[in-house]
């Protein structure tokens, strides 16, 4: 304590106190109707896949989604959600859900690729729905056109730089960096959780490919304007200016008025 009280008159004490103060204060549902998505499944599922998937489903999913995927009080029916929905929800770790909350969170994936494939096969066999997209729909699009579509349809929730953003009552739109093109495509066709569905009649498969190309482009090229500060706009930039900018000004003020030894 004595050391502390001696140091409180140190010229830097005010800055340290200010910084401390600033730091402390700153503190599926998708029933796709048949018109759009009931195309033939691109990845072929064998009868064995369906059978194995059924077993996995009964053991891991049926508690909430009901036997046969017919839904229960705790989870929606999965009839007609399609293989794309399963591949997205299970492939990003959102399902099986850990606990009830405003929305299912991304977490380490619980099933391996083969098991995910089998689960998708089983759910796809329950009713026609969006299929897992082919590789040709995931790359080689027009990034400029994709950027325009992204800013019109996606940027209001996911942020113009795809950094994500807050929604109502604890829900949020996630950041899209590090999300695979396949999962981005599947999210658009199925509308996981509170995301609206962007069916092929709204944004064409080519448009979706353009959007994915745009997202990969901004992810690999970085921001042309220098430090992004999380691309969160005025909040992060303001915090930086308040702490760093004002800090420098205060440091200069203290130096200007101090006596030389």
């Amino acid at each position: 304590m004595k050391a502390l009280s001696q140091k409180r008159r140190h010229p830097l004490a005010a800055i340290a106190l200010l910084l401390m103060g600033l730091l402390i204060t700153g503190g599926l549902y998708a029933v796709a109707t048949t018109v759009n998505e009931a195309k033939a499944s691109t990845s072929t599922f064998s009868a064995n896949d369906v059978e194995e998937g059924g077993k996995l489903f009964a053991a891991n999913c049926a508690t909430c989604h009901g036997m046969g995927g017919s839904g229960s009080q705790d989870g929606p029916s999965l009839v007609g959600v399609g293989a794309a929905s399963v591949d997205f929800q299970v492939g990003t770790g959102r399902m099986p859900m850990q606990m009830n909350g405003p929305q299912a969170l991304e977490k380490p994936v619980q099933f391996n690729d083969q098991q995910t494939h089998q689960l998708a096969a089983y759910v796809a066999s329950l009713g026609a729905g969006p299929a897992i997209p082919e590789q040709s729909l995931l790359e080689g699009g027009d990034a400029a056109a994709g950027g325009e579509l992204f800013r019109t349809n996606c940027a209001m929730c996911h942020n113009a730089a795809a950094a994500g953003g807050a929604l109502t009552r604890g829900k949020f739109a996630p950041a899209l960096a590090d999300t695979s093109g396949k999962h981005i495509y599947e999210a658009m066709v199925t509308g996981p959780q509170n995301m609206p569905v962007f069916s092929d009649s709204n944004i064409t498969p080519e448009g979706k490919r353009d959007i994915i190309t745009f997202l990969k482009q901004i992810e690999t090229n970085g921001s042309p304007g220098g430090a992004e500060l999380g691309s969160l706009g005025p909040v992060a930039e303001g915090l930086f200016v308040w702490i760093a900018g004002l800090g420098v000004i205060i440091a200069f003020t203290i130096w200007l008025t101090s006596r030389t030894s």
Binding site: V31, M156, C157, T168, R169, A173, P196, T260
Partner: protein
């Protein structure tokens, strides 16, 4: 003069007693004794401070050179203006200027603090107003009145008053040209049928019309009126008023009020995207809770209650666009919005009454 240091229990602690007529308890301590600086006593320290100041000025010179080299040596000519080159030049120009200015500034301050004389000076207050100054000012005004003879020559006085009164009139005429007032432009959008033909709902940005069968449950379409992209003049102004969010939900979850039952089609509804608070685009649609969130101030609208405000500063629901389906299955707007879209403005109530009469 306040006397807060009297610890006498006879005084109420809540009232500070004014110290009039009392001897001041604290004498003016005067200036503290002058303390000599190292550079005042030690020639070595003075020499060191001198070198430090020179070094700071030297940094300024280096900063200026960095600026000049970055400006002339980095080629941004055709084929060379890559983003990397531009960034490098920008950074060097900024750093060069910063060092050039900071070097001079900190050098001068250090010079003044360490080497220039530092004797304390106190300036006494002087009277704010001297009587003789006041008299002199009165005399000047009197002289002006007397010498201009304005009291003796009413013709000059009156013509001057007339000229000064009329001189601002051209300004009134010029400001009049800032108009015309927008009249009821804010109350109408492109959705009004032209020549009896109903406007189709089209996708933003490419402008292709939307069929009712395209809109699946849970979808959200960003919509502009058909023909907007073909506008040559005022396209953005029209778009700013006419943008609409089209959503489809289970028809049972919609609760249309009397007179609005036929404004949607089979669970498909269209609402203005312009927030009624200050006009940000409300387009954050949550397809399960049916909430629409405005990203600017978190106004939240409930789609199942005709976009009633359930949170935030907006005071009115989002205006609904009445829609139907034409013979070819495309969605059309049966009329313009039934109220002015967007935030409040002075004549809004008047315009709303005229729309509905």
């Amino acid at each position: 003069m306040g006397n807060h240091s009297d610890g006498s229990p006879n005084h109420s602690g809540t009232v500070a007693t004014a110290g009039q007529n009392e001897v001041e308890k604290f004498q003016d301590p005067g200036l503290p004794p002058h303390r000599l600086r190292l550079a005042d006593t030690d020639p070595k320290a003075a020499k060191r401070a001198e070198r430090q100041v020179a070094l700071l000025f030297g940094i300024s010179v280096v900063g200026t050179l960095i600026f000049l080299v970055a400006y002339f040596a980095i080629d941004l000519g055709p084929g060379e203006s890559t983003i990397g080159n531009i960034r490098l030049q920008n950074m060097l120009l900024g750093l060069g200027t910063a060092f050039a200015m900071l070097g001079i500034g900190t050098g001068i301050v250090h010079w003044a603090k360490a080497l220039m004389p530092d004797h304390e000076v106190s300036e006494e207050r002087h009277a704010i107003r001297y009587e003789e100054d006041r008299q002199a000012a009165v005399r000047i005004v009197d002289d002006i009145v007397e010498e201009t003879g304005i009291k003796r020559r009413p013709l000059i006085r009156n013509t001057l008053l007339g000229a000064v009164a009329l001189a601002p009139l051209p300004a009134v005429a010029i400001f009049g040209d800032l108009g015309p007032r927008p009249d009821n432009k804010l109350a109408h959008t492109m959705w009004a049928p032209t020549d009896g033909r109903l406007k189709r709902l089209a996708r933003d940005p490419d402008g292709t019309p939307i069929k009712a069968s395209d809109v699946t449950i849970g979808s959200a379409f960003h919509v502009i009126p058909e023909g907007l992209n073909e506008l040559v003049e005022g396209k953005l102004n029209e778009k700013a008023k006419a943008v609409v969010l089209l959503m489809r939900l289970d028809p049972d979850s919609l609760n249309p009020s009397a007179g609005r039952e036929d404004w949607g089609y089979n669970g498909i509804v269209a609402y203005s995207k312009i927030c009624t608070h200050v006009g940000c685009p409300v387009a954050l649609y949550e397809q399960q809770t049916h909430h629409l969130l405005c990203p600017c101030h978190q106004s939240t609208f409930d789609l199942t209650q005709e976009c009633k405000v359930i949170f935030g500063p907006a005071s009115r629901p989002l205006p609904q666009l009445p829609i139907a389906v034409d013979d070819e299955g495309y969605l059309v707007a049966t009329s313009d919005f039934k109220e002015p879209v967007g935030p409040s403005y002075w004549e809004r109530d008047m315009h709303e009454r005229s729309i509905n009469s």
